[in-house]
């Protein structure tokens, strides 16, 4: 995992690219029509396989398992970017990436849930423990998540049976690679470090996700204990 590969960044380093800001603003104007159109052509085709019965019913069991695995990773990314945007602690290119990529990851979640129908796994609970409020931590974690997503989709592609699901999965795979390069560029890390990207197995990927301890059993509530210091 590349989570520790990037040297520390100061917030001001992240606010250096006016051109990227303009480009991202443009995306925000056009993204709704753009990505929904693409989804209609890709993932929605997979949904169609399930008609007229419940979505997911016509898919092979192995494809359902792969899609649920993908959904789990998309839930993680969705929660991460959505929380970062809501907290509002980021600025400059990182904030713009958060808005754009967050919208895309939410679209991935929505599309995968639609394809899976009743077979979709439930959304886990997450606790990012402050990472979404601290620019350097956020950027490092985003690089790690995106590189991991690329490797995870790559590790599954050759095992997908449904042509429609495969078409959607490879289209998402390369978008995750674009996200990885984008956040790496913002972080000042090389966007493409190697001529070949390695895949990761499901076991490798989930072990890394578990090691972050971002996935929690239930929502963290306020402590019922008395505060140690009451001032």
């Amino acid at each position: 995992m590349t989570i520790h590969d990037i040297p520390g960044l100061a917030c001001e380093d992240l606010d250096r690219d006016g051109a990227l800001r303009e480009a991202t603003d443009e995306l925000e104007r056009t993204s709704r029509a753009g990505f929904l159109g693409a989804l209609a052509g890709g993932l929605a085709a997979a949904v169609a396989l399930g008609r007229p019965t419940a979505a997911g019913a016509a898919l092979a069991k192995s494809d359902v398992a792969i899609l649920n695995y993908a959904l789990t990773l998309e839930y993680l990314q969705d929660a991460f970017y959505t929380e970062a945007e809501r907290k509002g602690a980021l600025s400059g290119p990182a904030a713009r990436l958060t808005r754009v990529v967050g919208a895309v990851e939410r679209a991935h979640v929505k599309a995968l849930r639609k394809v899976l129908g009743e077979k979709a796994v439930a959304r886990p609970f997450f606790d990012f423990r402050g990472v979404t409020e601290d620019s350097p931590s956020f950027v490092r974690t985003a690089v790690a998540f995106e590189d991991l997503a690329v490797a995870a989709y790559k590790g599954q592609a050759h095992m997908i049976e449904s042509p429609a699901v495969l078409a959607a999965a490879v289209g998402i795979h390369s978008v995750e690679a674009r996200h990885a390069a984008w956040i790496r560029y913002i972080a000042g890390a090389t966007p493409a470090a190697e001529p070949f990207d390695e895949g990761k197995t499901k076991a490798q990927t989930l072990a890394l996700v578990r090691s972050t301890r971002f996935v929690v059993g239930r929502p963290r509530t306020s402590s019922t204990k008395s505060p140690r210091f009451t001032g």
Binding site: L27, G34, F35, S174, V175, R178, H179, A192
Partner: protein
């Protein structure tokens, strides 16, 4: 024209790594070694298509079809490789554009070597390229690089379902690197790195048309 096509698709990351990093002085030896590492060679009767593949969306997967697709991919990689090599020499690049071109030139050369090795004697020849003004200055270079990388990603994605599982596994290690290149150059020139939630694929015909529009291939 030979009546057999053999595509050697490495099954292990070791083989991919070897293809990317070994020097080229003893390609035959490396080729055989990798075929052994890969656990065998797929040989199927078929016709070698020297030009671009004409693939129906529902075409059954086969080693012969893998060879067509890999040769199509090789054409794209040859074009990219020549483009970056020329740009580094000619386009007066500096700063992050020069860094991008230098790194990506190396990656595209590795992709060419990988595909040539996978195809063996069935590998197509290097095309004759003419980049005209696209390598004349940094702005033209940036715009052309965006086009080449986006087309490569879409072209590979468009063939994913037509490849055998082993060939897809190998191709996927290249696809995301080209997608990273696309997002990288788009970041540098101020274009949105990822403009869609799903990258839309191009068919072989569509991708060929996009390449033809550039005029970069003087002769296929």
């Amino acid at each position: 024209m030979p009546d057999h096509v053999s595509v050697r698709v490495p099954e292990t990351r070791m083989a991919v790594r070897a293809a990317a990093t070994e020097d080229l002085t003893s390609s035959r030896e490396r080729f055989l070694r990798r075929a052994i590492m890969a656990g065998g060679t797929l040989v199927v009767g078929g016709v070698v298509v020297a030009g671009l593949p004409r693939l129906a969306a529902s075409a059954a997967q086969s080693a012969a079809q893998d060879a067509e697709i890999f040769n199509f991919a090789l054409l794209l990689e040859y074009t990219q490789s020549a483009f970056y090599a020329e740009a580094v020499e000619r386009a007066e690049l500096t700063g992050e554009l020069l860094e991008f071109a230098t790194v990506v030139a190396e990656h595209e050369r590795a992709h060419v070597e990988y595909l040539r090795d996978a195809l063996g004697s069935e590998a197509r020849d290097e095309p004759t390229t003419d980049f005209g003004e696209a390598t004349a200055d940094p702005d033209a270079f940036g715009a052309a690089a965006v086009t080449l990388e986006d087309v490569a990603v879409a072209a590979y994605n468009g063939q994913a379902g037509n490849l055998t599982k082993g060939a897809l596994r190998a191709a996927a290690t290249i696809i995301s690197v080209d997608a990273r290149h696309a997002a990288w150059i788009r970041s540098i020139v101020g274009e949105t790195p990822a403009a869609q939630a799903v990258d839309e694929p191009l068919s072989a015909e569509q991708a060929t048309a996009r390449i033809d529009e550039t005029g970069f291939l003087a002769e296929r």
